[in-house]
């Protein structure tokens, strides 16, 4: 039996095939009691499949799953506990609200099944309590189909919580809501989860949801967890360019390591020298990629005394209210910078682009190093400045990100 310790969910070496497609390839993770743990990744990365395996809606091909110390799935010896016995609650992407039942009957279902020993009075009390928790007590007589998307989502949540399960599973619960509703539901969901104190596995492709709601985030790609960490950690120290790109926009510069002083690295970018901290050992002369997030950069007119400073010309300005997105040309190459809107530099202004040493991320990248030895700036949205929007939904796809250094890029400085 798997050792569980204080973890409510333990997943070990999980594997799942659909015919020839290997959807989940040896996924391991633990969720501690009361924690909200997020699987983040693009569609087809295996995150939903992992969740459905935990729910018992898919049969696993290898590995073990234990919920609250009980093995519910195992390949050897074969164990399979059906979903109705797993003591879980789940919110489906399209909510799965039964159209032939009232809101009350939908929510009461888990405590009115044959197996449930809850008395009729207790059923009424607990269902009303669950509906009150999601602020729907006034709609309990309505039919499921007479509700708006946000209301259906609340019903689904109340239904998932009414039986007080050990584990709550959320399968992209916010993706069918419109943008403003999604934002408020995000906060409400988080508050409710903390109040109830329920251990939660959350699956999403939206990095804003993942970062704002989770205690820990795991980024998945092609059936594998690449990195797992607290939101701030994973955002500021992504383990590779894929993760960096998936969590937000990033400018990339092909660079060459000049000197290494402990974790303080100075690199050659075109004709200039920039400085960053590396989490890994770097050796001098290595070809690397320097990545900086647009909001970590700032613009200044005139002389710069910053350690990292690049000369650039404003090419496009996009005012989005709370901030300004600039596209700058650094010797013909685009660099994206997000600034606050106090001063707006008009197109054509010559500026200095500055960033902190701690905000420069260094990655080894053989492909990039081989192809491009010069500065290259990459905007995830195909080198174009993004249209104004309030949330930073990732337009980066992993493919784009991988190709960043292969794309035709303009260069500054002489070719070596």
């Amino acid at each position: 039996m798997t050792r569980t310790g204080e973890s409510t969910l333990v997943v070990r070496a999980l594997n799942k095939h659909y015919g020839a497609f290997h959807a989940v390839r040896g996924v391991n993770f633990d969720i501690r009691e009361g924690e909200l743990y997020t699987l983040l990744g693009p569609s087809g990365c295996g995150k939903s499949t992992t969740l459905r395996c935990v729910a018992g809606l898919e049969h696993i091909d290898g590995g073990d799953i234990a919920i609250a110390g009980t093995v519910v799935d195992s390949s050897a010896p074969p164990v399979f506990m059906p979903p109705n016995k797993r003591d879980i609650g789940m919110v489906f992407q399209n909510y799965g609200i039964w159209p032939h039942m009232s809101v009350f009957d939908n929510v009461a279902f888990p405590i009115t099944v044959w197996r449930s020993k809850v008395s009729r009075r207790e059923v009424v009390r607990r269902t009303e309590e669950a509906l009150a928790a999601v602020k729907l007590d006034h709609l309990s007589g309505r039919r499921g189909t007479e509700l708006s998307g946000g209301q259906q989502q609340r019903v689904a949540l109340a239904r998932a919580l009414v039986a007080r399960p050990k584990l709550l599973l959320l399968d992209e619960p916010l993706s069918n809501l419109d943008a403003t509703l999604r934002e408020s539901m995000r906060m409400e969901l988080r508050r409710l989860q903390k109040n109830v104190g329920i251990t939660t596995l959350f699956v999403t492709h939206d990095q804003t949801e993942a970062l704002s709601m989770s205690d820990r985030v795991a980024v998945m790609r092609e059936g594998v967890i690449i990195q797992e960490d607290a939101p701030q950690e994973i955002y500021s120290k992504p383990s590779d360019l894929y993760v960096a790109g998936f969590l937000g926009r990033v400018n990339c510069f092909a660079a060459k390591v000049n000197t290494v002083h402990r974790d303080y690295v100075s690199v050659q970018v075109g004709s200039g020298t920039l400085h960053a901290r590396s989490q890994r050992a770097m050796h001098e002369g290595a070809r690397v990629v320097l990545a900086v997030r647009p909001e970590k950069m700032s613009l200044r007119q005139g002389e710069s005394s910053a350690v990292n400073s690049l000369p650039g010309v404003v090419a496009e300005v996009s005012f989005i209210g709370e901030a300004v997105d600039y596209r700058l040309l650094v010797d013909g190459t685009s660099v994206i910078v997000r600034e606050n809107a106090r001063v707006i530099f008009p197109v054509g202004t010559s500026v200095r682009i500055e960033f902190d040493v701690d905000d420069g991320l260094l990655y080894e990248d053989e492909v990039a190093a081989a192809k491009v030895s010069q500065v290259s700036a990459v905007d995830p949205a195909d080198g174009k400045l993004e249209t104004p929007r309030t949330t930073d939904t990732p337009t980066t796809t992993p493919m784009r990100n991988q190709q960043f250094s292969l794309r035709k890029t303009a260069t500054i400085g002489q070719s070596t």
Binding site: A55, P83, N84, F109
Partner: protein, 593 residues
């Protein structure tokens, strides 16, 4: 008159959802739309009104004095009650409907929601049964279960030593059995749709919410399929009440009379038919059918609540039956068995010089002589095939395009009175086949215009009969096309004709094909209208088989049945394949998944 006071109120309930302003194309009526509306309304009224009017007039007037009278009803009622015709009709229809509904629904659930084997085989055999004329399949059952010559009876007598033949298909029990099997295939095909479109996450939510498999089936799956189930049940009850072939072939020789066969006998088998009494019978049958149609309408109206297709994240996870899988498989095999067995029997009989029960000894006398005889007997069989193709193809083609235009007018325009098109088009649903045949016959028999005695009268009758269904098929077709696609055609400078030719018709193709396929097959397999309206040179293929059977040329009837079964079977599957293929293309084009 009672016609106008009863029908509009009841039938109006069948109209489909009157409030749909968001579908309108223009805020003003275009002249071309008015012209189209006028033509279509005149056409629909021409199809529906004459048979209905002539029936009503004949039922309430005295044949000699032309005065208003209720005598016909007064005369027939005691006979009907005494001879048990009404109770027979009800027992037969209700029993067959209940059995076929239970049997067909369980099969559909097994085929669509579980991992039971032989799904494909059940689907193919059900579709084959739907495509083949009922006459053919009933004859097959006579060969299998007939009291004297039935194959199964002879096995029971010779092999098991039972003294008298235990089974008799020409009885109430036999009629119910055969009718139930014929309708099981249809119920299966209809019930497959709600089970297939059901969003699997609704069932999954039930399992995660602590329900067992049985609980999820009873509390979720079954309830979700209920509205569709009611509709299917009521429509099968209506069709079984007016069923003609089974009561005619099995009931008449066995002395079991129902309303539909009484109408036929009184009309066809007597020298001087009493038209007034026949009409009274017909009106009685319509009156029994009407409340059921109202119930059918109520059931279909609620289906909007249960719109179960969500597109996004739609999964069709099947229930794992575990160790019951093969038990379910054996159950699944029963339908192909009862559909194919009578057909094999027909093949056997068609190879015999005279009717013989299958045996090794009889196999020696097998030959293709009956098939040669079909061609030898002049070109009359070929004439019948040509007439069937002409009548079925012609009526289906005209109807499909006319109803497409009508649905477009009703949904997309603001032409005043446009819902009259809908109203007129549902009336034939309430008129049993045999009644419609009689009505059309009287409407045209006395006219100086030569319509009676030609293929045209058959085309008219069958267009009236298929009108409700093609209208419905096109209605959902037009509704599924987003209005913007048409608006952009107008904005791009197209006129109405170009809109139809280049945008609407291509997008409607799946609905058109479905409607055409249904109208064609229904016409090709139909018997009572073909019987009543036949004339020299215009005998539909089902009539030809019926006539051969009536005069005792059993083996020839079997051979012709086999030929027709092969032809219609192939045609049915080709059409099915076509509507599937183009259905997908057009569904993608209209932005649906």
């Amino acid at each position: 008159m009672s016609h106008s006071s009863v029908q509009p109120v009841q039938v109006k309930g069948l109209l489909i959802d009157r409030q749909r302003p968001r579908h309108r194309l223009f805020s003003r009526v275009q002249p071309v739309e008015l012209v189209l509306f006028g033509i279509l309304l005149a056409f629909f009224v021409w199809l529906v009104f004459p048979p209905v009017a002539s029936l009503v007039v004949k039922a309430f007037t005295d044949g000699d004095t032309n005065e208003l009278t209720f005598d016909h009803f007064v005369t027939i009622l005691p006979t009907l009650v005494h001879a048990g015709v009404i109770s027979n009709t009800l027992i037969f229809a209700v029993s067959a409907s209940v059995i076929s509904f239970a049997y067909g629904s369980v099969l559909a659930w097994l085929a669509e929601r579980t991992n039971a084997p032989f799904r494909r085989l059940v689907y193919v055999s059900a579709f084959l049964s739907f495509a083949l004329p009922t006459v053919i399949q009933v004859l097959g059952w006579v060969f299998l279960l007939g009291r004297r010559q039935g194959f199964i009876n002879s096995i029971l007598v010779t092999q098991l030593g039972i003294l008298s033949e235990p089974l008799d298909v020409q009885s109430m029990g036999g009629m119910i059995f055969v009718e139930a099997i014929l309708w099981t295939a249809v119920v299966f095909l209809l019930m497959v749709v709600p089970f297939r479109s059901m969003d699997a996450s609704l069932e999954e939510a039930g399992r995660v919410a602590r329900g067992t498999s049985a609980e999820v089936f009873l509390r979720i799956t079954l309830r979700l399929a209920m509205p569709a189930g009611f509709a299917v049940f009521f429509i099968s009850l209506v069709r079984n009440l007016e069923s003609f072939e089974v009561p005619a072939i099995l009931g008449l020789p066995g002395g079991v009379n129902v309303l539909a066969t009484q109408i036929f006998v009184r009309l066809h088998a007597t020298v001087l038919p009493n038209y007034g009494q026949v009409s009274a019978y017909s009106i009685l049958l319509v009156l029994i059918v009407l409340p059921l149609l109202y119930a059918y309408h109520r059931a279909t109206k609620g289906q909007g609540h249960y719109a179960t297709i969500t597109g996004k994240g739609l999964r069709t996870a099947r229930l794992d039956l575990g160790r019951y899988r093969w038990a379910a498989g054996i159950f699944m095999l029963t339908l192909p068995l009862v559909i194919l067995l009578p057909l094999f029997m027909l093949v056997w009989v068609s190879l015999m010089p005279f009717y013989r029960i299958p045996s090794w000894e009889a196999l020696g006398s097998a030959s293709l002589n009956n098939y040669y005889a079909l061609v030898d007997s002049g070109s009359r069989v070929l004439d019948s095939l040509a007439a069937t193709a002409l009548v079925a193809g012609g009526s289906a083609t005209i109807l499909v395009f006319a109803t497409a235009a009508a649905c477009w007018l009703v949904i997309r325009t603001r032409v005043p009175g446009r819902s009259a098109l809908e109203f007129v088009s549902v009336i034939p649903l309430a008129i049993p086949s045999i009644v419609l045949g009689a009505g059309v016959l009287w409407a045209y028999v006395g006219l100086p215009v030569p319509i009676y005695g030609t293929a045209a009268i058959l085309v008219l009758a069958y267009m009236a009969r298929s009108l409700p269904f093609t209208m419905r098929s096109n209605f959902s077709g037009v509704l599924s096309i987003s209005k913007e696609l048409e608006e952009s055609a107008f904005v791009a400078g197209a006129n109405h004709r170009e809109l139809f030719q280049r945008v609407l018709i291509p997008l409607l193709l799946p609905a058109l094909l479905t409607g055409w396929q249904y109208a064609f097959l229904q016409t090709a397999r139909e018997l009572p209208i073909a019987l009543l309206l036949q004339s020299e040179g215009n005998q539909m293929i089902s009539v030809r088989i019926w006539n051969l059977w009536e005069v005792g040329q059993v083996t020839n009837a079997a051979a012709l049945s086999v030929v027709v079964a092969i032809l219609l079977g192939i045609l049915g599957f080709v059409l099915e394949g076509l509507s599937r293929r183009y259905g997908i293309v057009a569904a993608e084009a209209s932005g649906r998944r």
